[in-house]
């Protein structure tokens, strides 16, 4: 089934806007907060912000939540395309992945700027001492080469094989992201377990597909 140019464009914009909504909502609420805090009065009619009494903590958590969601969304594209037999979906993977990287970057920035205010000593000791921070930073570091090499030019320069090797990092990044969340959650909460479950599920599906492919390839060789 071929998609028309219009279908592709519509879906692209639909995804683009959908994924940017949480970020827009966050900026909107910070605008309300600044307006309220400095008594500017421009936005008073729009009501009070929803960032709680601790907007910094809330912002950091909010960005982390959405970063993980979009990261897993991008990780789910390939298996979804195969299961639902819509291989056109793969064309959107890069965009979703770059958006996930954007959210992860904002998440980290909010920690460095809002939470720690560039207290590098404190940040460094957090990364070294706190396992969930170590894992989170490792995941972010692995994401950087993926984001940088996401352009067509880089695919050409590296060649498909090397490019794929770099992007296999997502198999590590996705579990690290979910574990990062699991380890920082207080008490015996359900949400982090759901994310871990999703990662395990996605890894399982991919493993199953690759086993299937190998069996097919082996069968192909045998008959040849």
């Amino acid at each position: 089934m071929a998609w028309t140019k219009k279908t592709r464009k519509t879906l692209k914009w639909f995804l683009w806007i959908g994924i940017s909504l949480p970020l827009l909502w966050l900026f909107y609420n910070w605008a309300l907060l600044v307006d309220e805090g400095f008594n500017l009065g421009y936005l008073t009619s729009l009501g009070f912000h929803s960032l709680t009494a601790n907007p910094i903590e809330y912002t950091n958590r909010f960005l982390g939540d959405w970063a993980l969601r979009f990261l897993l969304f991008s990780f789910a594209v390939t298996p979804m395309a195969r299961i639902f037999k819509v291989k056109q979906l793969v064309a959107y993977r890069r965009m979703i992945g770059l958006w996930a990287f954007t959210y992860v970057s904002f998440h980290l920035t909010s920690y460095i700027v809002l939470d720690q205010f560039f207290d590098w000593g404190e940040i460094w000791s957090d990364i070294l001492k706190r396992n969930y921070m170590t894992l989170g930073m490792t995941a972010f570091t692995l994401l950087i080469p993926m984001a940088v090499t996401s352009t067509k030019g880089w695919i050409k320069r590296l060649g498909a094989r090397r490019w794929k090797a770099i992007h296999k990092a997502i198999y590590v990044i996705a579990p690290l992201g979910a574990i990062h969340y699991f380890m920082m959650a207080k008490g015996n909460q359900l949400d982090p377990k759901i994310y871990i479950g999703i990662v395990v599920g996605l890894l399982g599906i991919r493993l199953w597909f690759s086993l299937q492919d190998k069996t097919k390839a082996a069968a192909g060789k045998a008959t040849a």
Partner: protein
Amino acid sequence: MMLLKNRKSWHIAENQVTPERLYLSRRQIMQGFGLGLGAALAGPLFRAGAAYALPNFGIAKKTNYAGDEELNSYKDITSYNNFYEFGVEKSDPAKYAHALITDPWPVEVTGHAERTGTYSLEDLIDFNALEERIYRLRCVEAWSMVIPWVGVPLAGILKKFEPTSKAKFVRFETLANRAQMPGLRSRVLDWPYREGLRMDEAMHPLAFMAVGLYGKPLLGQNGAPMRLVVPWKYGFKSIKSIVSINFVENQPQTSWEMQNPSWYGFYSNVNPNVSRQRWSQGRERRIGDFFKRKTLMFNGYGDQVASLYAGMDLAKYF
């Protein structure tokens, strides 16, 4: 609040309680000094001042245990809460705690004491001897507030039951009522929520049983109708909506310690030098501030309480 219905004797002039607006005006003076560009810009940013109605309580005595530190607003104190029985989000308690029924409020008193039994709230709290105490509250999540509590010293309540010499610890439990507390459906903790103090900690003059704040009865999200306030310990030790007081011989298990013993200990004194939990405890963000401040040993109450722990290794007994 029903329990206040026929207690007109407490309704006294509002000038007897510290109103929020006095503190707001002081804040504006502080800002005038210009505490650096960042503070000047960010200082007012997170402060949500809210108008507040006449106090419902008569206050016999007022003591400020937070120096010249600015009070947090009534809105902040009643909208940003950890009370997992109502959900794990900070906004959940304010959203759901209105369902909490606090009248009548029977409290079971058991264990090593002469006068055990079931008591009403009025049996435990002398509403004619209420005090206002301004305390810092330091949450283990590295944020803090300054709150004008209303209540009575815990020691006065406990003495009424005449604990015996076998009572070495006192153990408290929060209400666990599924119909009123939607958060109980998920097993974040092993319900009911339980906390405990060593007897000398419980008898310390700073240990407080609050029934109100800002001159008003506690709202559900703050632990109505009565909750502990132990200002030198992390906030989770200050157990809310207490329905059970139990005098025991051995150190009781507490909810967070049961959930994660490598993070949370029985004592859980505020200690900037020991950061076992996922939060670095060296600094804290006062709700309303942009910049963090240094966390003080025993939350700044070391002069009064450090002697309770003389000779103890506080890294071991965290």
